[in-house]
């Protein structure tokens, strides 16, 4: 029950931050950070694949509704959620994943955590900006936008994950 409340709070914080703050950041057209994938990234390591996929679906639909993007966030979020288990197995090893715990630097180790965060966010941003760019040309501009936004997203998601990692919750 305690853990359900924690994830409901995480869902609310990441989605509200994205809709009301990051979507309205008008600093630079290349700067479009995505923080809501933090919710799926922080699901327990041993969460079943179907739970992760459905969590990604719900988050994607909510973001599409809040951002008016008609499926774009759902496409990217589903891809991220589906790839989570293989990425975790690759970076951490299947046995450690089976032991569970909330993904964090203390639980996974600094190197593995950074690897996991970067791979997942690159997957998400490539899916999102790749599909969005279908409607436009200007490859180099889109590429710059992908790189800048991916780096910013990694930074902000890392901040959120650090803030939301309980100090005693290594398992």
């Amino acid at each position: 029950m305690h853990r359900a409340g924690y994830y409901i709070l995480l869902f609310a914080v990441t989605s509200l931050l994205q809709i009301f703050f990051f979507n309205n950041l008008s600093l630079w057209s290349c700067f479009a950070p995505m923080v809501y994938p933090a919710f799926v990234l922080m699901l327990p390591l041993n969460a079943s694949s179907i739970v992760v996929l459905l969590s990604g679906l719900v988050m994607g639909v909510v973001m599409d509704w809040g951002m008016g993007t008609a499926g774009l966030n759902t496409i990217a979020m589903l891809a991220t959620a589906y790839q989570r288990r293989p990425v975790l197995n690759l970076t951490l090893g299947a046995e450690v994943v089976r032991d569970g715990g909330i993904p964090s630097m203390s639980r996974m180790g600094q190197h593995q955590f950074v690897q996991y965060l970067i791979i997942m966010m690159v997957l998400h941003c490539v899916a999102f900006f790749g599909f969005e760019a279908f409607t436009t040309s200007y490859f180099w501009y889109q590429f710059l936008r992908l790189v800048v936004s991916t780096l910013a997203s990694i930074l902000f998601v890392w901040l959120i994950m650090s803030l939301f990692t309980p100090k005693h919750a290594s398992r």
Binding site: I19, N24, S26, S29, C30, S49, I50, W65, L72, A133
Partner: protein
């Protein structure tokens, strides 16, 4: 049958993923800028209040610069008022075109410049008399976009910074018209296409609305020519235009209603449906 069930049991997550992705890609590929504006308008019925509060807090810090812009605008309008006052004294006539529009102020609830399709949400909707097709201008009177969809209390406008946006334009004081579009790149720059090679174009020339699209009044400033060149066929100019409105600092807008829009469009549709 057993093998099929076993296959489904082992790979149902992958099957679900593929099904969900196909549905999402199908919805997205069929969506237009209008679909997106409609979704935003419905979402704003629920989230608009909170977004408005957040914008109010942010807007508080830009009050000084907004006041300066408004003061400059008041001065400009005072000047125009004295001009029309002079016309009345000399029994001259007033341009009837000025009387075809109604103006209304609105506050920007949310807007973006970092997407391929950017929209602007404002805090006025159907109950305030806002309707789709109304022009959206900056407080200084520069073209910003036009209304696509409204809920009771909020409206969503397509921004010039939307790759689906198109409107007619011309060089100020010249008769030849072209088309304005945004390529998804810099939020300070748009492209003017298909302007006749006979147009009087030069760097720094003002690009304004033509007024024939039924969205914008004529002669509303869009931006200034930064560079231009003839296209491959040597018949049209394509030009880079520096936008006059600052989309990254847009807190208030002016809505413009073309009073005769429905009547004029009705006549045009009628003529088209009769095959003329």
């Amino acid at each position: 049958m057993y093998r099929l069930l076993e296959f489904i049991r082992r790979s149902y997550v992958t099957l679900l993923f593929v099904v969900f992705e196909i549905i999402a890609i199908g919805i997205y590929s069929r969506s237009t800028y209008y679909t997106q504006a409609t979704i935003l308008a419905r979402a704003n019925a629920l989230t608009g209040g909170l977004a408005g509060t957040i914008t109010d807090i942010g807007g508080y810090f830009s009050l000084a610069s907004e006041n300066r812009a408004l003061t400059a605008r008041v001065a400009e309008l005072e000047q125009r008022l004295s001009y029309y006052g002079g016309l009345v004294d000399t029994t001259a006539t007033i341009d009837i075109a000025e009387l075809q529009y109604e103006f209304m102020q609105a506050r920007v609830v949310s807007s973006s410049i970092n997407r391929a399709r950017n929209f602007i949400t404002i805090n006025k909707g159907l109950r305030d008399g806002v309707m789709s097709g109304m022009a959206v201008l900056s407080p200084s009177g520069e073209a910003v976009g036009y209304i696509l969809d409204c809920s009771e209390r909020y409206s969503v406008a397509i921004s010039i910074l939307n790759t689906s946006f198109r409107t007619g334009c011309k060089i100020k004081g010249d008769g030849y018209s072209g088309s304005i579009e945004w390529n998804g790149g810099s939020p300070y720059e748009v492209t003017m296409r298909e302007l006749s090679k006979y147009a009087q174009i030069e760097v720094g020339a003002e690009v304004v609305t033509t007024g024939v699209s039924h969205y914008f009044p004529s002669d509303k400033l869009i931006g200034r020519v930064e560079s231009f060149e003839l296209d491959e066929s040597k018949t049209y100019y394509n030009a880079k235009v520096r936008l006059a409105a600052d989309f990254s600092n847009l807190h208030n807008v002016i809505l413009v209603k073309y009073i005769d829009r429905e009547e004029v469009m009705g006549l045009e549709h009628g003529a088209q449906s009769r095959g003329y």
